[in-house]
């Protein structure tokens, strides 16, 4: 057996170990969720009589149906608007000559390093003076802006890969920048746009700190924001809490498995770019 082959086996074994470590916490959560409600289970023990009904009970007390609706409403507010703004700006910065474009770009880049927590206090008072507190707008508007640095960065990087000859050909044909953008660049940008859409959706769905500050009513928050309230409310019963936690994270996992390829490509590219 050659050295690389042995290494690859060892590498595979290591990856399997990583996978097991990744899955153990979920396994223990699942085994706990299936114990009789109200019991005090220990770490991992498969129940002799799995109580699948716990999930129905948790679905009811966690108000999952309205929560999913609320999270979707917020995502619908954030994702399309972010895509439009980021695409226009990314196109402008990448292919058009704009005064101070480098400066503008770096100002956007600075935004990538700003922790959300550093902005929540002023954002809170800003939303208050706009009269938007406790509405989903108080999440949607700041999130669009907070995701803008990444969105602009991402779309600009995409438009830079488009060969300049394409726009030039169009220019020579007399097309304006808007028509060039609309008919040549936009269709080519669809893969980059869909990856960005997936990432933005995920980040919105999982947004926590903004949700707990801006919106008092858990049912108007994002899924993640509601999960914190759920923990406080049903901390008594570790079994139902586990079932509820699984249900609340299930949508992200389902979406992820469906879009698995796009997801990991987006995350990997996104990380390299962002």
């Amino acid at each position: 057996m050659t050295a690389p082959r042995r290494d690859q086996l060892a590498g595979k074994a290591l990856l399997v170990l990583f996978m097991v470590l990744t899955l153990i916490p979920f396994a223990t959560l699942l085994s706990t969720a299936l114990q009789p409600a109200g019991s005090i289970p220990t770490g991992f023990s498969w129940p002799s009589d799995p109580q699948w009904g716990n999930f129905a009970e948790a679905w009811r007390i966690a108000h999952l149906a309205p929560l999913i609706k609320s999270s979707l409403l917020i995502a619908v507010g954030v994702v399309p608007a972010s895509l439009v703004l980021a695409t226009l700006a990314g196109y402008g910065l990448a292919t058009l000559k704009i005064p101070f474009s480098n400066l503008i770009f770096v100002v956007f880049l600075l935004g990538l390093t700003i922790p959300f927590e550093s902005l929540i206090t002023p954002l809170y008072y800003q939303m208050d003076s706009l009269g938007l507190l406790n509405t989903r707008w108080a999440l949607v508007l700041p999130l669009i802006a907070l995701y803008m640095p990444f969105g602009v960065f991402w779309m600009r990087a995409h438009f830079l890969t488009v060969p300049a000859e394409l726009s030039e050909a169009a220019f020579i044909d007399g097309a304006g920048t808007w028509r060039t953008f609309r008919h040549i660049h936009l269709p080519l940008a669809l893969p980059a746009l869909s990856s960005l859409a997936i990432l933005l959706f995920l980040w919105t769905w999982n947004q926590f700190v903004l949700a707990i500050v801006m919106v008092d009513d858990p049912l108007k928050r994002t899924m993640a924001g509601a999960l914190g309230a759920f923990q406080g409310q049903y901390g008594t019963d570790i079994v139902l809490l586990s079932a509820g936690a699984l249900l609340i994270m299930a949508p992200t996992i389902v979406v992820f498995v469906i879009f698995q390829r796009q997801f990991s490509r987006a995350l990997l590219q996104g990380a390299v770019k962002g």
Binding site: N102, V106, L110, D128, P218, A229, G232, Q233, G235
Partner: protein
């Protein structure tokens, strides 16, 4: 590589842009706010409107008592309906000031610490309603904790809140474990209490079930402090009287006992991550001889433990001493910006005086309903735990002293003083002297700023 060639210059330029924006936006924050708590005394009405009104309530999750009361109220007055939203305690106390300051302030909020909000002008002054409804018929001590004076100290001044149930705290005990260790009746001195703990430990039982993930060791700590010091001093500290301190010999003694209990393994080993609901859950399942808690759990424990559980007031240092308990009204306030102050005041008066409402409070929360001293206390079965807690409340009312919770002294004292200091104390990391000094330091830094 093209774009990163001179990052430092770019960053400087970007920062300069930011700074330029800064110059355009400089006025002191909040300077234009004015207090809105002025209330003309003549404006209030004690007649309930006959229009349709929806009252907005912001309540604490897990204590559905006000919701129950609101249902009964609507049954009696169908034109008044309620819109209720609830949050867990921590989120509620964090959100409350912001919610009250906002334009869609609710009509009633559960608010444990009222002094800061009252001096910030967020709360409606209830004095006009006090006059109009004749709340001077309530025992004065019942309302004392909910008064705030012009300097922002509690204990005297105008009325800013009312209670829904008036709680008292003490010690729950597991009667089965008590029988096992030969504890025939509740201890009457602190020494006896500690002997019982030692006996439980020796018998392999858990002596104390107490949560301390967010500082629940404050219950036994203050229970001890109340006995070792003059309760009036404790109250002065809580009410932020000038010069009050908790850095006293009595507090050090209380902390020493607590540290000693921890050292002997009387607390569970996960005491510092045990949360309240798990504490109650484990105690109800038979783990732990004692649990320091309030009468609000009596109805619950009655259901889950039946005749296996008892309740006693914290024993005194010497046999036959004057009993002291901390207790507090479960305070509810009306925001200054509330849309329906007359209606909510009517509701508050109703729940103190209506026979059915008082019965609901006792049955659902186990706490005394308060109200005029002349009204009878609703009846509960004599064998029930609630009967014991009501009797304890009566004992305190007749011949004892009631103090507020030390955790209510300032808005940050619990999270930033009591919790970290008592967690460190139970872990044996700091001395009792350092623990009380740390709490006092936090108290002063908050009042100072």
């Amino acid at each position: 590589m093209i774009t990163t060639s001179r990052p430092s210059r770019r960053f400087l330029a970007a920062l300069a842009v930011t700074a330029t924006v800064a110059l355009t936006a400089c006025s002191a924050p909040g300077a234009d706010e004015s207090t809105t708590s002025d209330q003309a005394a003549g404006d209030v009405s004690t007649e309930l409107t006959d229009k349709d009104v929806t009252l907005n309530l912001y309540l604490e999750t897990g204590f559905p008592i006000v919701e129950e009361l609101s249902k009964e109220f609507t049954r009696q007055n169908p034109n008044i309906t309620f819109k209720i939203r609830s949050d867990q305690f921590a989120a509620l106390t964090e959100n409350a000031p912001r919610v009250m300051a906002s334009d869609d302030a609710p009509d009633l909020i559960r608010l444990p610490t009222i002094a800061d909000s009252a001096s910030d002008g967020l709360l409606l002054n209830l004095d006009p309603y006090y006059e109009a409804y004749g709340w001077d018929q309530f025992p004065a001590s019942q309302l004392e904790q909910m008064r705030v004076d012009d300097e922002g100290s509690r204990g005297s001044g105008s009325l800013y809140a009312l209670g829904v149930g008036y709680s008292v705290t003490g010690v729950y005990y597991n009667k089965e474990i008590a029988a096992e260790i030969g504890m025939d009746e509740p201890p009457t001195t602190i020494d006896e209490l500690e002997d019982d703990m030692a006996a439980a430990k020796a018998a392999g039982e858990q002596p104390i079930m107490q949560f301390n993930d967010i500082g629940g060791a404050a219950f036994p700590f203050q229970a001890l402090l109340n006995q070792y010091s003059d309760p009036a001093d404790v109250s002065d500290w809580i009410f932020q009287k000038p010069g009050a301190t908790i850095d006293t010999d009595a507090a050090v003694e209380a902390a020493t006992h607590l540290a000693d209990w921890a050292d002997k393994g009387y607390f569970t080993d996960d005491v510092n991550s045990l949360d309240y609901t798990n504490m109650v859950g484990r105690f109800a399942k038979g783990e732990g001889l004692f649990m320091f808690d309030g009468d609000w759990e009596s109805a619950n424990l009655d259901k889950s433990m039946g005749d296996k559980v008892g309740f006693f007031l914290m024993p005194t240092e010497e046999e036959g001493g004057e009993p002291v308990a901390m207790g507090a009204p479960n305070t509810y306030v009306v925001p200054a910006k509330a849309a329906h102050p007359d209606e909510i005041a009517y509701f508050l008066n109703w729940l103190h005086t209506d026979e059915k409402a008082r019965q609901i409070i006792v049955d659902d929360s186990g706490a005394a309903p308060g109200g005029p001293a002349s009204l009878p206390v609703p009846e509960v079965p004599e064998t029930s735990l609630t009967h014991q807690t009501l009797a304890a409340a009566a004992t305190i009312g007749e011949s004892g002293v009631l103090t507020d919770f030390v955790a209510n002294a300032t808005s940050g004292i619990y999270a930033d003083g009591i919790r970290p200091e008592l967690q460190s104390l139970l872990d044996g990391r700091i001395s009792p002297e350092d623990a009380v000094k740390g709490i006092q330091d936090e108290y002063e830094s908050e009042l100072g700023s």
